[in-house]
Symmetry: C2
Subunit: 278 residues, 2 copies
Amino acid sequence: MRLRLDLSYDGTDFSGWASQPTLRTVQGTLESALETALRVPRVRVVVAGRTDAGVHARGQVAHLDVEPEVLVASAGRSPDPPLAALVRRLNGILPPDVRLRRATEAPDGFDARFSAVWRRYAYRVADSPEVVDPLARRHVLAWPRPLDVDAMNAASADLLGLRDFASFCRAREGATTVRTLKELSWARDDSGVAVGRVVADAFCHNMVRALVGCLLSVGEGRRTVQWPAEVMAGRRRDQGVTVVHAHGLTLEEVGYPAGAELAAQAERARARREAVDD
Amino acid sequence: MRLRLDLSYDGTDFSGWASQPTLRTVQGTLESALETALRVPRVRVVVAGRTDAGVHARGQVAHLDVEPEVLVASAGRSPDPPLAALVRRLNGILPPDVRLRRATEAPDGFDARFSAVWRRYAYRVADSPEVVDPLARRHVLAWPRPLDVDAMNAASADLLGLRDFASFCRAREGATTVRTLKELSWARDDSGVAVGRVVADAFCHNMVRALVGCLLSVGEGRRTVQWPAEVMAGRRRDQGVTVVHAHGLTLEEVGYPAGAELAAQAERARARREAVDD
């Protein structure tokens, strides 16, 4: 059977999602905890969004395949159903900066990475001393100058749609930089933090942070509202674009189609971008 | 002139507000940063709520007295007005877990401690794996069992008003334990975290955490809705009451009366509780 795992983590002390020898990664930490919880020698999880070092997640999704007998056996004498027992057991093993929110049986055709039809990220910026909250400092960027959110929204609107994001991506041999940016908008939350909402079918490496870096230049008035669209039209990495700090970025949610579309979407995505970042 | 300072801090790595030799405290850290920023040998601040070790603040208020010439001189060649320059300068000196949100000239008669007419605290509890957010783990208590917020509200309503809170306070020689509890209510925020809102004229030591401990027992069904009122009627420290962890507690706001009432309130409060915790 295939399990869907819904995860959150504080990315501060991780070298990103993807396992790397000798480094503390979310994948490595999770897989090792699953091996202990399920009492199996080797677990491999597949994830929707391979976040970079320092990037956080509230709505990360992963899957793993497990024998039903292994799952039942792992619950031991717990009075809870096996999946609830797994959540409890795994959270007891995981360090406090990664939490398993839910474990559910995945529907037929579900693939955490390839069935996903969109990823939603949030980038958070506190742009005045009144708004900087030390309790949120690990996931909100403190910015020393005030931002004009309206200007950032106007510039963002020009970047939407199916486009070549080469200007905002680290180039990779043989990988496309064409993506569909479904939403890019800014609003202040109740505490006054400027929150960028970014939704795309998928993202190339560094894409959100480069887009946000570009828009912060507009927000503080160093660049015109038209500039990000000009950068995009250049279709190659622009020296004027700064990739902003990772710690303001959080993967908030991953979207999947309804049942029957899961497998079809996975097939399409797998064919299209086997060697591409999400 | 008297300055009003509005402060936030992450209490995790502080041994509380009040200065203590050899320990890292918010007061010690702030006063030392002010001495550097103002270039004076000794600064003393007075605070509205002397929070315990591990307790956070978003709306802490303090005051200090400073010679106008000292303030102007400290701004140096900054193009900002002196108070804005102080905010910028002080935040550059302070560690990231304490932030100065605002510095303003205090109105006549203002005393951060004695003019205050109420203090509002929030206690935050995540009572299911779905709700536990690793990004908020420093200021939200993770509780292993689900809470019945309605039962907690019913129990809370019985504790309101002018009462003797001796059952919830660490006794102190010669100090009254009579307080006016103006509000005590529970609601879930957008993410599902149970937030207790606690407002009183002032609090004795450990009072909020003992009240919350009592109410969590009700929320998880270990105690009846009537039990907290029975404990209060006992008017002495009850062995059944657990003082919950400090890290779920945040001082959110301090209330002051309008102008002319500031000095009168300060005089009344000073007379009433010279030797009492806030």
